[in-house]
C-alpha cells in the first residue's frame, strides 16, 4: 500500500482508477449495509423466536405484500444504478483518447515485449510518459495471456489471433507491477514486468537511449523530427538556417567572425545555441536539447547532419 491505497484497493495511479474505486466503494458499502441488516435480523429472530416450549406450534404469518414489493423494488433500483454506473466507466475504460501514445505489446510464454513507435524495444520494464494517455495494442505469440496493472485498474486478455487493446494515463511517476492473469503454463506466476512512468522529457531521453540498434544517422533522422519546424534539409531558409550542405563549410557568424562547421560546432550549436549565432538569424533557438536528448541521440543527430548535402 502506498500513499493513496487502502486495505481493500491498491494505489490508484491512473486517471480512471479513482472512478473505478468510487464505484467499488459504493457497491462495497451498499452491500455491507444490506448484509449487516440481514444478519442483524437473522440473529434477532434466532434469539427472539428460539424454541422454549417443545410443544408450541406457531401460527403461519400473514405475508405482507408491501414488504415483499420492497424486497424486490429496492434491490432492483440499486442494481440498476450500479449497472448504469458500471457501464459508463466501462465505456471510458474501453475508449482510448485519439491522441494516445501507442505501444505494441507482445506476450509469449513467459515474458512481455514492448515495442515503441520510435523503434525501441524493452522487456522487463515498460516506460510510459506521465500525464499522457497510452494505448497498448496487444497480441500473443502462443497461448492466451492477460495484461493486468492493479494500480491502473486495467486488464485485458492478450490473444493469438486478434489484436486487443487497453489504455491508461499514469498520474504520477513511479513503478507499477504488471501481471499475467490468464493461466499460460509453468512459469505463469513469473510472467511479470513493471510499468515505469516518467515525465515526458525523461521518457524521450529513455526512448532515445533504447534505440541503440539503429545506425547513428538513422537515429538522427528520427530525432530531426523535433528540428524540422525551423531547419530545412533541402536548402530552403526557415526560422533557422538550413542543414543541407552545412557540414565542413565555413560559416559567417553574427559577430563578424567565422567558424568551420565541424562536429564540435554542430554539437555546440545544438546543446548551447546562443554560443555562436549564424549571420542573418535571430537567437531564438531553445536551449533545452542538452536535457531532452541523450548523448546517443545527439551523436546520431550530428551524424545525420553530416550526411546532408
Amino acid at each position: 500500500m502506498g500513499d493513496n491505497g487502502s486495505v481493500w484497493l491498491p494505489d490508484a495511479m491512473s486517471t480512471l482508477a479513482g472512478e473505478v474505486d468510487a464505484l467499488f466503494w459504493f457497491v462495497f458499502w451498499a452491500s455491507t449495509i444490506i448484509f449487516a441488516m440481514v444478519i442483524v435480523a437473522k440473529v434477532y429472530f434466532m434469539v427472539k423466536f428460539r424454541r422454549t416450549d417443545e410443544t408450541y406450534v406457531p401460527e403461519p404469518v400473514e405475508e405482507s405484500k408491501v414488504l415483499e414489493a420492497v424486497w424486490i423494488v429496492l434491490p432492483t433500483i440499486l442494481t440498476l444504478i450500479v449497472f448504469t454506473w458500471g457501464f459508463e466507466v466501462f465505456v471510458k475504460l474501453n475508449t482510448a483518447p485519439p491522441d494516445s501514445y501507442e505501444i505494441s505489446v507482445r506476450a509469449q510464454q513467459w515474458s512481455w515485449e514492448f515495442q515503441y513507435q520510435e523503434g525501441a524495444v524493452s522487456y522487463t520494464e515498460m516506460y510510459v510518459p506521465v500525464g499522457r494517455p497510452v494505448k497498448l495494442v496487444m497480441n500473443s505469440s502462443d497461448v492466451l495471456h492477460s495484461f493486468f496493472v492493479p494500480d491502473f485498474r486495467i486488464k485485458h486478455d492478450v490473444i493469438p489471433n486478434r489484436y486487443t487493446s487497453v489504455w491508461f494515463e499514469a498520474t504520477q511517476a513511479g513503478e507499477y507491477d504488471i501481471y499475467c492473469t490468464e493461466y499460460c503454463g509453468t512459469q505463469h506466476s513469473g510472467m511479470m514486468a513493471k510499468v515505469v512512468a516518467v515525465p515526458q522529457d525523461e521518457f524521450n531521453k529513455w526512448i532515445a537511449e533504447q534505440s541503440q540498434d539503429l545506425p547513428p544517422a538513422e537515429l538522427g533522422l528520427q530525432v530531426y523530427a523535433q528540428c524540422q519546424a525551423c531547419h530545412s534539409v533541402d536548402g530552403s531558409a526557415g526560422i533557422g538556417p538550413t542543414l543541407a550542405g552545412l557540414y565542413g563549410t565555413t560559416r559567417p557568424l553574427a559577430d563578424g567572425s567565422t567558424v568551420v562547421a565541424d562536429e564540435d560546432y554542430l554539437l555546440e550549436s545544438i546543446v548551447n545555441p546562443m554560443a555562436k549565432i549564424a549571420e542573418g538569424y535571430q537567437p531564438v533557438m531553445p536551449a533545452m536539447f542538452s536535457s531532452t536528448l541523450s548523448p546517443k541521440q545527439l551523436d546520431g543527430l550530428v551524424a545525420y547532419i553530416k550526411t546532408l548535402e
Partner: protein, 566 residues
C-alpha cells in the same frame, strides 16, 4: 403398530452381501453408494486443497515444484466440481429422499438410476486417466490453445466430464419423470417440499446444459484428429469460441451446484423453525426461473476476453435479473424464523451458516457483475474467494446440513450432537479464515493460479493457509463422528427433528426396503406445522408415525386449502 419399532427389517438389512449392493435397484442404496463415492472425491480434492494452501504459505517453492502445484490445483478443481459438488446433493440426498418425499416406492426408472451411478464412476475414471495420458494443468476451465498445446489430456478430461454429465442427465430425467408421475395422492405441486422443487429445477438444467459439453468434446476431437480449425488459431480457429462453449455449459452448471442447496436450506429453515417457509411460491418458482435464466449469462465470465463490449453489457444486465430473486430468497429464509419456533440442532446451524456465507458470496457476485469493477477483479483471488463462498459456503455447507439432517434416517443412528456443534463451529471459523483474506488480496491485485507471488501478499496467504487447517480439522471431525455413529451411535427415532415430509412421518428409521407398505395420502403442505399440532403434543421429537402408508390418515378430514400453502 409393531412396524414402528426399530430393529425390524429395513432397506439396509433386508438383503446382505456385496452383490446385493452393487446390483441394487433401490434408490436409497444407490444414494448411499453415491455418498461413499462423492465422499472419497471430496477427501481427495480436500487433501489437494490443503497441499495447495501449504505451498502458498510463503513465496517461492515451499513443498512442491511449479508443475506439481499447477497440476494440484487443477485436479482439486476437477474433483471438487465434477466428481463432488455436482452429484453431491442431487445424487446422494436426491436419490435417498426425493422418492420418499413424493410418497413413491422408487424413482420412475430404477435400472437407469443404477446405470447412472456406474456411468458416473466410468466418467470419473476417464477424467482421471488424463493424468496418465499427459499433464493437465491450468485450472478447471481448460482454455485453448494452452490446454490443447500440452498434449491430449484435455480430450480425456472433457470426455470424462461429459460422461459424468451424462450420469447427471439420466438422474435428472429420472427425477423429472418421478416428480411428474409418481407423487402420492394429495401431494399437489403447492404442497411439495422445496427440496423437490429445487431438485426438479436442477434436473431441467442438467438435461439441457450437459449436451453442450459433449459437443465441445466432439469439436476438440475433430480438431485434434483432422486438423480442422475450430479453436486453434494456428489452424484458423478462434480460442475465444472455446470459452463460449465452456461457459455455456459451465455457467448453468453453477446453478446445478447451487439450486439443490437452496432446496436443502428451505427444508431445514422450515423444519427447525416449525414454520411455513416464507414466500413458498416465490422460492419454488424462482428456482425454475433461475434454471432458465442461468442459460443466458455465460458471457459474464468473459468481460475481458475480447468478446464485444455490447455483449458484455447485455450479459451484465441479465446477471442482475438472477441476482435479485436470489437475494429475495435469502430474505425469505430469514423471514421464515420470524414468529417461528427456532431450534438449533446441528443441521440448522449449517442452514444459519449458509445464510451468512452464501450472502457474502452473493454480494461479491454483484460486485463482479459490475462491468468496470470486474475488469480490475477478474482472475484475481477476489474471484477465487467469491466462488468458494458460493460453492463451498453455499453448496457444501448446505450439503453438510442435509447430511446431518438425513443421516439418522439413512443409517438409523444418531451422531454425537456436541461433537457436531463443535465441528460446525470449526467449519464456520476455518472457512471464513481461509477465504475472507482472499477477497482482500484479490482486490489488492493478487492473480489466481499463481505458484509464486510478491511479498506484499504473504500475510493474507498465511492467514488463508492457517484457516484451511482449522477447516480441515472440522471436516475430519465430522467424518470421525459420523463413522463412529454407524457402529456405536444411539438408535435414531422415527422423526427426531419433528419434520413433516413423508420420509419422517410415514417411514420407519431406517426406511423399509419398499419405503411404504401402501401409498400414503397427503393432506397438507410440507411446512404446514399448524395443521399437524397433534404430532407435537408430547414434545419436539415425534415418536410415532402418522401412518404406515396404509391409506388411513390420522389427520382430521378437513384438508388444507391451497391458500394455506401460499
Amino acid at each position: 403398530m409393531s412396524h414402528s419399532a426399530n430393529g425390524m427389517v429395513n432397506y439396509l438389512n433386508h438383503d446382505k452381501g456385496i452383490k446385493s449392493w452393487l446390483f441394487t435397484l433401490d434408490h436409497k442404496r444407490i444414494g448411499i453408494m453415491y455418498l461413499v463415492a462423492v465422499s472419497l472425491a471430496f477427501l481427495a480434492g480436500g487433501i489437494l486443497a490443503l497441499l495447495v494452501r501449504i505451498e502458498l504459505l510463503a513465496p517461492g517453492e515451499t513443498i512442491m515444484s511449479a508443475d506439481a502445484y499447477n497440476q494440484s490445483f487443477t485436479l482439486h478443481a476437477v474433483l471438487m466440481i465434477f466428481a463432488f459438488i455436482i452429484p453431491a446433493i442431487p445424487a446422494v440426498m436426491g436419490n435417498f429422499a426425493l422418492p420418499i418425499q413424493l410418497g413413491a416406492k422408487d424413482v420412475a426408472f430404477p435400472r437407469l438410476n443404477l446405470a447412472s451411478f456406474y456411468i458416473y464412476l466410468i466418467g470419473a475414471a476417464i477424467a482421471m486417466s488424463a493424468l496418465i495420458v499427459g499433464r493437465i494443468d491450468g485450472g478447471w476451465t481448460f482454455y485453448t490453445p494452452y490446454s490443447t498445446s500440452i498434449g491430449d489430456g484435455i480430450l480425456f478430461v472433457t470426455a470424462g466430464v461429459f460422461v459424468m454429465g451424462f450420469s447427471s442427465i439420466l438422474t435428472g430425467l429420472n427425477f423429472i419423470v418421478t416428480v411428474h408421475k409418481m407423487r402420492a395422492p394429495g401431494l399437489t405441486w403447492n404442497r411439495l417440499p422445496l427440496f423437490i422443487w429445487s431438485i426438479y429445477a436442477t434436473s431441467i438444467v442438467q438435461v439441457l446444459a450437459t449436451p453442450v459439453i459433449g459437443i465441445t468434446v466432439l469439436l476438440l476431437f475433430l480438431e485434434k484428429a483432422f486438423q480442422i480449425g475450430i479453436f486453434d488459431p494456428a489452424l484458423g480457429g478462434d480460442p475465444v469460441l472455446f470459452q463460449h462453449f465452456f461457459w455455456f455449459y459451465s455457467h448453468p452448471a453453477v446453478y446445478i451446484m447451487i439450486l439443490p442447496a437452496f432446496g436443502v436450506v428451505s427444508d431445514l429453515m422450515g423444519t427447525f423453525s416449525r414454520h411455513q417457509v416464507s414466500g413458498y411460491k416465490f422460492v419454488a418458482l424462482s428456482s425454475v426461473a433461475i434454471a432458465f435464466l442461468g442459460f443466458l449469462v455465460w458471457g459474464h465470465h468473459m468481460f475481458v476476453s475480447g468478446q464485444s463490449a455490447v455483449s458484455s453489457v447485455v450479459f451484465s444486465l441479465i446477471t442482475y435479473l438472477i441476482g435479485i430473486p436470489t437475494g429475495v430468497k435469502v430474505i425469505n429464509w430469514v423471514q421464515t424464523m420470524y414468529k417461528g419456533s427456532v431450534q438449533f440442532k446441528s443441521p440448522m446451524l449449517y442452514a444459519i451458516m449458509f445464510l451468512f456465507t452464501f450472502s457474502i458470496g452473493g454480494f461479491t457476485g454483484i460486485m463482479l457483475g459490475v462491468l468496470a469493477i470486474d475488469i480490475h477483479l477478474h482472475d484475481t483471488y477476489f474471484v477465487v474467494a467469491h466462488f468458494h463462498y458460493v460453492m463451498m459456503g453455499g453448496n457444501v455447507i448446505a450439503a453438510l446440513g442435509g447430511l446431518h439432517y438425513w443421516w439418522p434416517k439413512m443409517t438409523g443412528k444418531l451422531y454425537n450432537e456436541t461433537q457436531a456443534k463443535i465441528a460446525a463451529f470449526l467449519v464456520f471459523f476455518g472457512f471464513n479464515l481461509t477465504f475472507f483474506p482472499q477477497f482482500i488480496m484479490g482486490a489488492q491485485g493478487m492473480p489466481r493460479r499463481y505458484y509464486d507471488y510478491l511479498p506484499q501478499y504473504e500475510g493474507y496467504h498465511q492467514l488463508s493457509t492457517y484457516g484451511s487447517w482449522v477447516l480441515g480439522v472440522g471436516l475430519f471431525l465430522i467424518a470421525y463422528y459420523l463413522l463412529v455413529s454407524v457402529f456405536k451411535g444411539k438408535k435414531a427415532g422415527l422423526n427426531p427433528w419433528g419434520a413433516l415430509t413423508l420420509e419422517w412421518t410415514h417411514t420407519t428409521t431406517p426406511p423399509d426396503h419398499h419405503n411404504f407398505l401402501e401409498t400414503p395420502v397427503v393432506t397438507r403442505g410440507a411446512y404446514d406445522f399448524h395443521l399437524a399440532r397433534h404430532l407435537f403434543e408430547h414434545g419436539g421429537e415425534v415418536t410415532e408415525l402418522e401412518g404406515m402408508g396404509d391409506g388411513a390418515s390420522t389427520l382430521p378430514e378437513t384438508p388444507a386449502t391451497e391458500d394455506a400453502t401460499v
